[in-house]
């Protein structure tokens, strides 16, 4: 059953600079910095916020249990509802969607939502490789998990071997145009990307995301708030979440059912039948380069086994591409895990507000934000637009 939703708008976006170590701030200082910037962008004060929805990766990364409790002061939400969201790597996206649902459902009028990670105070790779009692301990981090899936995609699609390197090089070039990006490698050459050592063959060091500290925040508001805004806002045209188990008979790990269902749902809500033609810019969760062509296919921007052709043709490049992907530099250039999904959603909003600076896609009217997590099993997506739906 579908019920009418209240219209929802992104009123403000705030990001910290993403870098390997923010030693000058605590977690509280980090999240407050992003929140203050989002409030300033929205032209609002702490008192204007009705509720806060916060997300991050699992607590054992930094070893601070339920940090949302300790962060309540820093986020100005003492005495206000606070909600914490958990969906592994997709959490930044899911957190934004939970915040949006509070407005869509008419519960609140203005919600501050935020994702963060302080990877310098944790060790995510080995936190994800805990020994388990009834299996052998040989998996080395997320790359070890996703490498076989990428290998399967390469085998079944017949993609040329260097497609992943093309994605990595493209995203690092995009990052040079985003002052918030972590990796800004001005002298990087394509050959250097290709010649980088293999970590989890077929994944090279150059094709993986960095470990970053950072936070990203958004202020979402209802229709009255969106209409009252003095600056441009991004209207939410569709929101969807899906999940599935990470191992079951017949599972298509390359193109999970949950991903396909999630994309179909969000495009149906937005009234989009030809995603490649009707979406102007995409921010998708690509922590390992090959996931760009894989998600292009799964989401429906490309036919099955043909996503790599879009990469090869430069279709996803900010310069000259018809569907620029990750103009911000993406997860491959900045990865504060709990924030990474929200950055995708926030960057999509910035694009349709015309506020993406040097990585703005000219005339972007509709944008797609995407996050995935776990064993490619949790999905969060939204479509935002310059016009009210």
């Amino acid at each position: 059953m579908t019920v009418a939703k209240q219209r929802t708008a992104v009123l403000g976006v705030g990001q910290t600079k993403y870098q390997s170590t923010r030693g000058d701030v605590s977690m509280a200082g980090l999240v407050r910095e992003a929140a203050l910037r989002a409030l300033a962008d929205a032209g609002m004060e702490w008192a204007d916020v009705d509720a806060v929805v916060i997300g991050k990766a699992p607590d054992f990364f930094e070893g601070v249990m339920m940090p949302e409790l300790y962060l309540a002061d820093a986020l100005g939400c003492v005495g206000k509802p606070v909600l914490r969201v958990h969906t592994a790597g997709s959490v930044g996206g899911s957190t934004a969607l939970v915040a949006a649902s509070l407005i869509q459902g008419g519960i609140h009028r203005r919600v501050l939502t935020l994702g963060f990670e302080k990877q310098s105070e944790s060790n995510a790779t080995w936190a994800l490789s805990l020994p388990q009692p009834f299996s052998v301990s040989i998996n080395a981090g997320a790359g070890g998990y996703f490498s076989p899936i990428i290998r399967q995609y390469m085998a079944r699609s017949g993609a040329p071997e260097l497609i992943g390197c093309m994605v990595a090089f493209k995203d690092r070039q995009h990052a040079l145009r985003n002052p918030y990006a972590h990796l800004r490698q001005h002298d990087l050459t394509f050959d250097q990307v290709v010649e980088a050592p293999m970590l989890w063959d077929p994944i090279r060091y150059s094709e993986t995301c960095p470990s970053s500290d950072g936070a990203c925040a958004m202020v979402l508001g209802d229709e009255v708030s969106g209409d009252a805004a003095t600056g441009p806002v991004a209207w939410v045209h569709g929101t969807a979440m899906r999940s599935e188990a990470n191992n079951f008979p017949g599972r298509d790990e390359v193109n999970p059912q949950a991903s396909r269902d999630c994309a179909a749902d969000v495009f149906r809500q937005a009234g989009i039948s030809d995603p490649r033609a009707e979406i102007d810019v995409v921010e998708m969760y690509v922590p390992f380069s090959w996931y760009e062509p894989m998600w292009l296919e799964s989401i429906g921007f490309a036919e099955r086994d043909a996503g790599w052709r879009m990469v090869e043709e430069g279709a996803t490049h900010l310069d000259g591409g018809d569907l620029p992907v990750n103009c911000s530099g993406g997860v491959l250039s900045s990865n504060p895990i709990g924030a990474s999904g929200m950055i995708r959603f926030a960057e999509a909003a910035l694009q349709v507000r015309g506020m993406a600076g040097d990585h703005q896609v000219d005339g972007a009217r509709r944008a797609f934000g995407h996050a995935y997590g776990g064993g490619a099993q949790y999905f969060a997506m939204w479509v935002v637009g310059a016009e009210k739906p």
Partner: protein, 197 residues
Amino acid sequence: MSGAPDGEVRLPASLRGVEPVQSVRTPIRLEYDYRPSASAESYLRAYADKRIIGHRSPVDGAVFIPPRGVDPRHGVAISEEVDLPDTGHVGNFCVTHLPIPGRKGLEVPYVSAWIHLDGAAVGFLGLVRGCPTDEVRIGMRVRAVWKPDDELGTTAENILHWEPTGEPDVPLERAGNRSFHASQPDAGGDTGGEADA
């Protein structure tokens, strides 16, 4: 310490000139006794006899390994144990060049693979050795190499690794998780997740 209005920190005299602490490392560990579920206990005890057991779904006969006592696709309990052979194929794999801290006897590069036992509907992780890493293939047939009998315990680590059998490969469209649908009546090969719809 108190913050001055100009943001400068006023230190007490005893701390002046002392190098400021930027961060501290506090490694944490948790040791615990693991009490397996009934199905996990059967699975681990069988290893001591060089047996590998799975659970067969009453819905469509799919065999799960490790056995969990449930078919998560249909939400039904499973009680039927089946013995699986120690032969199968590589469904998928990673050549890892990154050493795992504290993990002994695992020199890089090593091949971690999803091993799909003959008759099982899902894979489980194992090491592949016995051939150069660049000769490992999706669909390669393998068999288990067990620890010597006097070293066997109630652990999945009884299987040291998997080695090639030299038999012809399983074709790509029937390797790994695709093998389940390929084995079903009316299967059209690589049907993705559609059969669950």
